[in-house]
């Protein structure tokens, strides 16, 4: 080590301070590259993100995302003007599909984030404190896991009134048990590690131990699960839309579009199939990404 | 005392291909084991002792390992050039190995008897080995296999009694978790020595055990080695064990054997700076406070080993020559005592 850390410019200092992290990232990237499927997954996700963020600016018929009707061109197959064809109201399916991307991705994020956060905190508390607290939390989790998520979400949405917001809330509530269980198991094993005992030894409070020592070490498992869950969250949201309790017309949403398109099958194949493909792509992409991330994190070669 | 040479490793070089590059694990290892000898292979963690030992039954995983040069002669024949069939026969009849952790060396879902019968039966008749194992146990229909299993089981019971496990006919059907650490190691020793191999390779056999159990196991190994007239390669980082058990010692550092000789030579008359450093670092009963000295620095990175002699950055007698040229081949400075260092001659 030639030059002392403090003597370098700010870039040099940042690099030195984060050397460990940088090294880890490089390794992770190398392993990631080795799995072709995860690269494909990553590519799909990046593509989807671009579409989600920018799509609403360049779609050919932005008004078709609302209540417009173009009766003259209704139910036409894919043409040059309407890449994905038109629906029962004459609206451009391509526009609506792209428009819905942002909805789905945001919804997916919110569901996984909220559900994940609740689950992580509850799981962390259960695992760390053990005893009665653990029993109570885990039994509630068990009860929730016995009910198929979709029915629970259905019940909640029906009670609150159908809307995409309520669907998101309902799904968040059904999502947390999975994380709770995962984190609780991780915490139970990490709790026995020497460095946790060392933290107690230097006087760390339980809250500090949980948030600074235990949970960061659960991160890899959580990230893997979250990335795969994304796809499923989107799927579930679409399922609720399909049934009719999620997004309400005229808001474009893949599930609703697929559902409405059923009427016109098999003649109007583009109405259900193409949004369905978009959904397939999303779920597939996130699954592959999750796989790839799991390969990076687990087993860690550098542990 | 010196009869014939059982094992001779000549200039063995081994590379390991990893993410970070090529790790030069063995850098020209020279080792001789005579018949009837107990040779101790000493060195610190990561110096390559286990890899050296694994080269004899050719158990080094290749890839990611790759032997780039050298010979491993067993009874005069190069193990590296043998066919798969020949190697299997060698492993069955002539070699036996005990590992460090008795817990992970035994399969927890099969009884001790099943595992021992498998191994002993396979040693006796390697051609039938695959049909002996449990899942291939359909082969039990054949009377030849049944006979083999029966004979193997009897031998297993015999050996268990020999290693001091009382009530062997009952215990043989127990599972590994019903035995304690020391007893599991006895089971492994019993299995290894059941067919009187020519060479026993013991890789840190007592490191995972308590001190008093360690003494028991070492004595057991000593007795059996004498009784069966075995040659032994004992790998350990504990110099006390070496002093007690071995007749000859080879000291290893970073993939090279730096010194070897009789146990008296090495302990009383060490020549290589590393050996000297090791001897000075151990507290024994007479040491006063402040007398032990560590060896400054740390073990080199095998991916980018220092040029020349791998020990020179930590050596107090290093000269510029040590950084440029690789150390010389082992030089005999006294009968049976060889050193690989520019200090000698």
């Amino acid at each position: 080590m030639s030059v002392s850390v403090e003597a370098r410019g700010w870039w040099g200092r940042w690099r030195a301070k984060n050397e460990g992290l940088i090294d880890e990232w490089r390794r992770g990237l190398y392993r990631f590259r080795q799995s072709r499927l995860s690269i494909v997954g990553m590519a799909i996700i990046i593509f989807l993100l671009i579409v989600a963020f920018t799509g609403r600016h360049w779609v050919p018929y932005p008004k078709d995302a609302g209540f417009t009707t173009h009766v003259e061109i209704r139910l036409q197959g894919p043409t040059r003007d309407n890449l994905f064809g038109t629906d029962g109201y004459g609206r451009d399916v391509f526009t609506r599909t792209i428009w819905a991307t942002q909805t789905s991705l945001i919804a997916g994020t919110v569901i996984v984030l909220v559900g994940g956060l609740i689950g992580i905190i509850l799981g962390g508390i259960a695992g760390y404190f053990g005893g009665l607290v653990n029993e109570v939390i885990m039994r509630i989790t068990d009860i929730m896991l016995t009910m198929p998520g979709i029915f629970l979400a259905l019940a909640i949405t029906a009670a609150l009134g159908p809307s995409i917001l309520h669907a998101m809330m309902a799904l968040s509530i059904t999502w947390w048990p999975g994380y709770c269980r995962l984190v609780q198991a991780q915490v139970l094993s990490i709790r026995e590690e020497d460095y946790v005992e060392a933290a107690r030894c230097i006087g760390a409070s339980p809250r500090r131990i949980l948030f600074n020592h235990i949970l960061p070490n659960c991160l890899s498992a959580i990230v893997v699960k979250a990335s795969m869950d994304f796809g499923f969250a989107v799927l579930n949201l679409a399922a609720l839309g399909f049934i009719g309790v999620g997004a309400q017309p005229p808001v474009p949403e893949w599930g609703v579009m697929i559902s409405k398109g059923r009427e016109f099958l098999p003649y109007g194949w583009w109405l259900s199939t193409l949004p369905g493909l978009a959904m397939f792509l999303t779920v597939f992409g996130f699954n592959m990404l999750g796989d790839g991330l799991r390969d990076i994190f687990d087993p860690r070669a550098r542990r | 005392m010196r009869n014939e040479l059982l094992v001779e490793i000549k200039d063995l070089r081994l590379d390991f291909h990893t993410f970070d590059g090529v790790s030069k694990v063995l850098n020209g290892v020279n080792l001789k084991i005579w018949r009837g000898d107990i040779l101790g292979l000493v060195g610190e963690t990561g110096c390559g002792k286990t890899m050296t030992a694994l080269s004899i039954p050719r158990l080094i995983p290749c890839p990611p390992g790759q032997i780039t040069s050298g010979q491993v002669l067993f009874e005069g024949e190069d193990v590296l050039r043998k066919t798969q069939e020949e190697i299997r026969l060698l492993r069955a009849k002539k070699l036996a190995m005990i590992f460090q952790d008795p817990t992970t060396s035994l399969n927890p879902v099969f009884s001790i008897g099943d595992q021992m019968t498998d191994i002993i039966g396979s040693r006796r008749d390697i051609s039938r080995a695959s049909r002996l194992s449990l899942l291939g146990g359909l082969g039990n229909i054949s009377p030849a296999i049944r006979e083999l299993r029966q004979a193997a089981k009897e031998r297993a019971i015999e050996m268990l009694q020999r290693v001091g496990i009382g009530d062997a006919p009952k215990r043989i059907d127990d599972y590994p978790h019903q035995f304690s650490g020391g007893m599991r190691q006895r089971v492994l020793i019993a299995t290894a020595l059941s067919e009187a191999p020519s060479l026993l390779i013991a890789d840190e056999p007592t490191t995972a055990l308590d001190v008093s159990i360690q003494a028991q196991i070492l004595r057991l190994i000593e007795e059996l080695v004498q009784e069966l007239n075995l040659s032994t390669l004992l790998i350990t980082h504990n110099l006390g064990v070496v002093a007690k058990m071995c007749q000859r010692v080879a000291v290893m550092y970073a993939g090279v054997i730096v010194e070897c000789g009789s146990v008296i030579d090495i302990f009383k008359n060490p020549k290589h700076p590393y050996t000297l450093g090791l001897m000075r670092a151990i507290p024994t009963y007479g040491t006063k406070r402040g007398e032990i000295k560590g060896i400054p620095g740390s073990v080199p990175n095998f991916l980018a080993p220092p040029p020349g002699c791998r020990f020179h950055p930590r050596c107090e007698h290093a000269t510029p020559r040590c950084a440029e040229e690789p150390p010389p081949a082992p030089m005999e400075i006294a009968p049976g005592h060889e050193v690989s260092c520019f200090l000698y001659p």
């Binding site: 080590m1 850390v5 030195a16 301070k17 050397e19 460990g20 880890e24 590690e193 020497d194 460095y195 005992e197 060392a198 030894c201 230097i202 006087g203 760390a204 409070s205 960061p216 070490n217 550098r302 542990r303 | 610190e44 304690s180 020391g182 308590d210 001190v211 008093s212 159990i213 360690q214 003494a215 028991q216 070492l218 004595r219 110099l239 006390g240 064990v241 070496v242 002093a243 007690k244 146990v263 008296i264 302990f267 009383k268 450093g277 090791l278 000075r280 670092a281 151990i282 507290p283 024994t284 009963y285 040491t287 406070r289 402040g290 032990i292 000295k293 560590g294 400054p296 740390s298 073990v299």
Partner: protein, 323 residues
């Protein structure tokens, strides 16, 4: 200089054994079964025993990482068992622990700087620039360099990690360190470095050590007084010279003879014990060592439990041979 820093009286730690349908408590394991010891300021006290002897539990109980079942732990005149949890946390600053496994005693996701600085942050002793300076001081005290501050534990060797652990333990300027087999997982040459460091630090900072180990040679090298434990009880206690030159208890003798000595010409009486603790452990109310004892004299050994008696000069033995 000869004040008693730590005194332990009748310390017991029982772990419940649960069984049956509702996991009822059907019995207990006496990991620590009535221990008395006292350590003076500046002294190094060794605690020797094999696995299952309870030595690690003693260390953790003194620090209250494990709650003792019974007994008094008197540190600087104050009984720690009577303190509330928050007061205990303050007192923790005065006693710290060094752990055995350098590979699991450091949080793999924290940099060295955060690891060593954490105790100071928790107790609010320093912030910002002052914190940085103090951490740097600690690092150089244990022989590491500034560059190491921003690295993660997995980039260091075992010996270096132990040093980091020592730096962390010293952050709160403790009076006493409990070292649980600090060098058992290290290579010989590294062990010597770390032991050397520990001795230097003891002199410089006037520390008191409770050194737990199974390695008698290391204990002899570092410690002034030593106690031998077996199945939760102390069998013999005395100065290092006394114990090593005139071992009284049969277990002590057997253990000393079983330690392999790095000298091929060393001849010693070989006392090989039979069996193992798990199969031949003594019952409560008798001498725990009796089933394996090569010098067992009479039926008294299996009927009555021997008590620690002083043979003179601070040398205590618990054995019916010396009653």
């Amino acid at each position: 200089m000869s004040e008693t820093l730590l005194e332990v009286r009748k310390l017991k730690k029982y772990f419940p054994v649960r069984g049956g349908f509702f996991q009822r408590r059907i019995g207990h394991i006496g990991a620590v079964d009535g221990i008395d010891l006292s350590i003076e300021q500046g002294q190094s006290f060794g605690l020797v025993g094999e696995s299952g002897s309870g030595k690690t539990t003693v260390g953790k109980t003194i620090l209250h990482l494990i709650e003792p079942t019974e007994g008094e732990i008197i540190f600087e005149g104050q009984d720690l068992c009577r303190l509330s949890e928050s007061k205990m946390r303050q007192r923790r600053a005065e006693m710290q622990m060094i752990f055995q496994d350098p590979y699991s005693s450091l949080n793999p996701r924290m940099t060295v700087k955060r690891i060593v600085g954490e105790p100071l942050v928790i107790h609010k002793w320093a912030k910002g620039r002052a914190l940085d300076d103090r951490v740097r001081e600690l690092i150089s005290l244990v022989g590491l360099m500034e560059d190491h501050l921003y690295r993660y534990p997995h980039e260091f060797s075992g010996g270096q990690r132990q040093r980091i652990g020592i730096a962390r333990a010293l952050a709160l300027e403790p009076k006493m360190l409990i070292l649980d087999e600090p060098t058992s997982a290290l290579d010989v040459s590294v062990q010597a470095q770390v032991l050397d460091l520990l001795l230097k630090l003891q002199r410089r900072l006037n520390l008191t050590y409770l050194f737990i180990s199974h390695d008698l040679a290391v204990i002899r090298y570092i410690c002034d007084r030593v106690a031998l434990m077996y199945m939760g009880k102390i069998l013999e206690l005395g100065s290092v010279e006394d114990i090593f030159q005139q071992p009284m208890h049969p277990y002590t003798r057997a253990l000393l003879s079983a330690m392999p000595v790095a000298d091929p010409e060393y001849e010693a009486e070989e006392i090989i014990l039979e069996g193992e603790i798990s199969t031949l452990g003594g019952e409560e109310g008798t001498c725990r060592f009796a089933p394996r004892c090569p010098a067992r004299k009479s039926d008294r050994c299996t009927e009555e439990e021997p008590v620690l008696k002083e043979l003179g000069d601070g040398h205590l033995v618990a054995c019916h041979l010396y009653d």
